[in-house]
């Protein structure tokens, strides 16, 4: 049974380490099994490793599954694991950040690999759950020992070819056109799918994508535009699956500079005043955004992490009541801006679901409390280049911006604290994505402590304390979790994990 599906973009490479990007990782995992994989509920479960854990504080072990063969018939051994991990940490690979704590990887026996870390890293297995295992022999034979090196002008075999132990094998790869997979008959696991062929096609234009599934030209597609969700739901042949994604979309404000880069206010920074932040926060009606802009396809939140992430505090996830425009204006007046002010806002237009429209709605809401926002919505690479910090830790050029973040590698809240909320510091590499430069020393301390803390209750207490700090500071303005909306023909059954991954092994056709 052939399963045809599409989404907006193509898998950029067949090399599982080429990009640290959800789509590439989950797609290549259909071919390359990881040591440890996630189940339908994102819980870790054994894959190529049957057992794993920490021998001591700084040593991890992985016991490999015996009798696993690559799809070309060669056996899978510890050598392949060591090779793969080193390759993922090697030149050309984009996965290096998952190896920050790793000191050494060594083969203990054919079925056991140990990893020595520089410091205790309780999340190593989580980080590596997306890391597919490659064949050493295959890579060596095909001159693909390293991932493609951009500086050399030559192509890498692994970019267009793939061979792993996974549930599927790559049959045809036409970049930008289609990618065809067929089941791997020798897969170690018992297939839960009933597919004989999978054809993946990128369809960049959303309207075409919707038309294609309506016309039955494809069986499943994702990134359903929120606007079309309703019609697709009404189509008797199509089922729509929706669930919250772990990514939180939020607004950030520059609280670092003494004068905003793009504002009518000179000589001071209004965002440094908590009243201003509060006025803004409490003037944004996320429910209205949910209703019209997102057509119900969002889950408003007050926190920077989503349910399902380790460290999510359900009882803190309550947005304060909305302010009436006069109340907000009064707050602003108290802060010294009775006439409001003018500020620039940056927004991507091709990164998150309806990103530009959300920003537009925000502009309108802020306009009503006297803050005139000049919106600049642009394509993602220009946008990121503008707002993100530079390599030396200096801030990007933005005053008010929108970002989305998901601790997708670790599923732990610490990642969020470290990357987004801690004071930016080029030396320790903390807070490097804290584009607005929010800083609270107390919170910094808590975050540093929770990284090392292995006692769950203590750690949870730290997390709760830290969370309250940034919530009360109105450090960020969390908007919502965007929904993952998929559409499939009615005869397809599939599983939709919350991390926006799409494992083909759960697909069945009736």
């Amino acid at each position: 049974k052939t399963f045809k599906w599409g989404n907006a973009g193509d898998v950029s490479s067949m090399d599982p380490y080429a990009r640290q990007e959800t789509f590439l990782l989950t797609f290549t995992q259909n071919i390359y099994d990881p040591l440890v994989r996630r189940d339908k509920n994102l819980k870790l479960e054994p894959a190529l490793a049957v057992k794993w854990g920490q021998v001591d504080k700084n040593t991890w072990f992985f016991d490999l599954r015996p009798g696993v063969k690559f799809s070309d018939g060669t056996p899978f051994t510890a050598d392949d694991v060591v090779f793969s991990l080193n390759r993922a940490n090697g030149p050309g690979s984009n996965m290096g950040s998952n190896f920050a704590s790793v000191k050494e990887i060594r083969k203990v026996s054919d079925l056991r690999v140990e990893v020595i870390t520089k410091y205790p890293d309780p999340l190593l297995a989580d980080k590596w759950a997306a890391l597919g295992m490659m064949s050493k022999a295959w890579a060596e034979k095909n001159n693909a020992v390293n991932s493609a090196d951009m500086t050399k002008n030559e192509e890498n075999y692994a970019t267009r070819n793939a061979m792993g132990t996974g549930p599927f094998m790559l049959k045809e790869r036409r970049a930008g056109e289609r990618t065809v997979l067929v089941p791997n008959p020798g897969w170690w696991d018992k297939p839960t799918h009933n597919l004989t062929e999978v054809i993946f096609t990128p369809i960049p234009n959303a309207a075409t994508r919707v038309a294609a599934i309506k016309a039955g030209d494809i069986d499943m597609m994702y990134e359903v535009p929120p606007a079309d969700t309703e019609t697709l739901k009404r189509d008797p042949n199509i089922a729509v699956l929706e669930g919250p994604e772990t990514r939180i979309v939020y607004l950030g404000m520059d609280q670092e500079r003494n004068e905003l880069v793009e504002s009518s206010v000179k000589g001071k920074n209004p965002f440094k005043d908590k009243r201003v932040r509060e006025a803004i926060y409490r003037s944004i009606d996320v429910d209205a955004i949910k209703r019209t802009v997102m057509r119900g396809q969002s889950f408003p939140t007050a926190l920077m992490v989503a349910p399902g992430i380790n460290g999510y505090m359900k009882d803190l996830d309550k947005r304060p009541a909305l302010l009436k425009p006069d109340e907000a204006k009064k707050l602003l007046a108290d802060a010294g801006y009775p006439q409001g002010f003018e500020v620039g806002m940056d927004c991507p237009n091709d990164r998150y679901v309806n990103d530009e429209k959300i920003c537009q709605a925000v502009v309108a809401m802020l306009a009503r409390i006297g803050i005139k926002v000049n919106l600049l919505a642009q394509t993602r690479n220009l946008y990121f280049a503008k707002i993100l910090r530079k390599g030396d830790g200096s801030p990007g050029t933005t005053s008010l911006y929108m970002l989305g973040w998901s601790p997708a590698q670790t599923y732990d809240v610490h990642n969020v604290f470290e990357a987004l909320i801690q004071t930016p510091n080029a030396a320790t590499k903390k807070g490097m994505f804290n584009a607005g430069g929010y800083s609270n020393p107390e919170l910094d301390k808590l975050a540093d402590a929770m990284e090392q803390e292995t006692d769950k209750t203590k750690r949870d207490a730290m997390i709760a304390a830290a969370t309250k700090l940034y919530v009360n500071d109105y450090a960020y303005i969390p908007l919502h979790q965007q929904a993952v909306v998929w559409a499939a023909r009615k005869n397809i059954s599939l599983v939709q994990p919350a991390d926006n991954s799409f494992p083909l092994r759960f697909v069945t056709i009736k």
């Binding site: 599409g6 973009g9 950029s12 490479s13 090399d15 080429a18 990009r19 640290q20 990007e21 050309g92 984009n94 290096g96 950040s97 991932s147 493609a148 951009m150 500086t151 050399k152 002008n153 030559e154 192509e155 890498n156 970019t159 267009r160 036409r174 970049a175 930008g176 056109e177 289609r178 096609t201 990128p202 369809i203 960049p204 234009n205 309207a207 075409t208 994508r209 038309a211 294609a212 016309a215 039955g216 030209d217 091709d350 394509t379 993602r380 690479n381 220009l382 990121f384 280049a385 993100l388 910090r389 530079k390 390599g391 830790g393 973040w405 590698q409 990357a419 590499k429 490097m432 994505f433």
Partner: protein, 330 residues
């Protein structure tokens, strides 16, 4: 003749070099490719290292020389987005675009020329006026809207044609073609119409006005006075004399078609160069953009040379003059 070809060649090199310069200097500003190349967690240091390795921090002239040097050898490097060699990425997508453009051009010529001839021969007939007004729709609706409407009607409601993609293709060497399978041919219909509609209108109107003008020339009057049949006059004498400007415009339009394929390909998920280019712009994939532009310039030059050679075939006056004079188009 030889001189003519040489001059064209010199001009081509000039055009390509200019395009190279323009391309290069524009690309310096299309955004930071690094962000497209790495995931969200990649540390800022790693980003900087990558930038360094790619030579993006070098002074512009050095980057340019490197770019031209490599381009001259046909090396455009690896795509920042997919790490594949750019040359091959483009080559792979070229058949799709060229076949689509060819069909669109054929559609616009095969429909546009007869329509133009008809409206030119009977300018006062109501059906001509109708045709003319209807043809204007081709230039009154944005391409993307035409495409989507076609998809809605023919794929979603009538289920006659595939909604996207190339259907089935057959590989002949590295060239994958749509022409050998029914599905492939069906898949060509809507994109070709979408892409060719605009050109159809242009060509029809051009042929019409040329016909109107030619029909008033003395030699047509004289041909009538000689008692030649209408067929011989309309097609033998009149049509052939409209060919020179039509060839010019059709040639230029073929270039435009290839470039306009950007939009059509996006709408129909047609895996061609245009779609590649749009993605490259989004991702600041400089090597791909550069190669694409150079290729377009090259195709343009080739088309121009072919157009010029066609003039020689059509117009004996040029043959004897050595092609110095190029009949100017409109």
């Amino acid at each position: 003749m030889l001189a003519f070809v040489l001059r064209r060649l010199a001009q081509s090199v000039a055009v390509l070099l200019t395009v190279g310069v323009v391309a290069f200097f524009m690309f310096r500003y299309v955004g930071d490719p690094i962000n497209a190349m790495v995931g969200q967690d990649t540390s800022l240091q790693e980003r900087d290292e990558l930038r360094q390795k790619l030579g993006l921090n070098d002074p512009a002239p050095i980057q340019f020389l490197r770019f031209i040097g490599n381009a001259a050898q046909g090396k455009f490097g690896l795509s920042y987005r997919t790490s594949e060699p750019v040359g091959r990425m483009i080559l792979e997508r070229m058949p799709a675009t060229l076949e689509l453009s060819f069909c669109a051009a054929m559609f616009s010529l095969l429909v546009g020329v007869p329509m133009g001839v008809y409206t030119g021969l009977y300018p006062r007939h109501w059906s001509s006026k109708l045709l003319q007004a209807v043809s204007l729709i081709g230039v009154s609706l944005p391409t993307f809207l035409v495409g989507i409407l076609l998809i809605l009607v023919f794929a979603v409601f009538l289920r006659l044609l595939p909604s996207f993609g190339r259907g089935e293709t057959v590989d002949i060497g590295w060239w994958s073609t749509n022409f050998l399978t029914t599905k492939g041919l069906l898949a060509l219909i809507m994109p070709s119409i979408t892409l060719g509609l605009f050109q159809l209108t242009l060509i029809m109107r051009l042929v019409r006005s040329e016909m109107l003008e030619v029909m008033r020339t003395d030699f047509i009057k004289f041909a009538r006075a000689r008692g030649l049949s209408n067929r011989a006059i309309n097609f033998g004498h009149a049509l052939k004399n409209t060919l020179v400007p039509v060839i010019t415009i059709a040639g230029l339009q073929l270039g435009a078609i290839i470039a306009f394929a950007v939009v059509t390909e996006t709408v129909f998920a047609w895996p061609g160069m245009g779609q590649l280019f749009i993605q490259s712009v989004q991702f600041a994939d400089i090597p791909v953009m550069a190669a694409y532009l150079m290729l377009i310039a090259f195709l343009f030059v080739v088309i121009n040379v072919i157009v010029d050679l066609l003039y020689f075939l059509v117009d004996p006056r040029l043959r004897s003059q050595g092609g110095a004079a190029r009949v100017s188009g409109h």
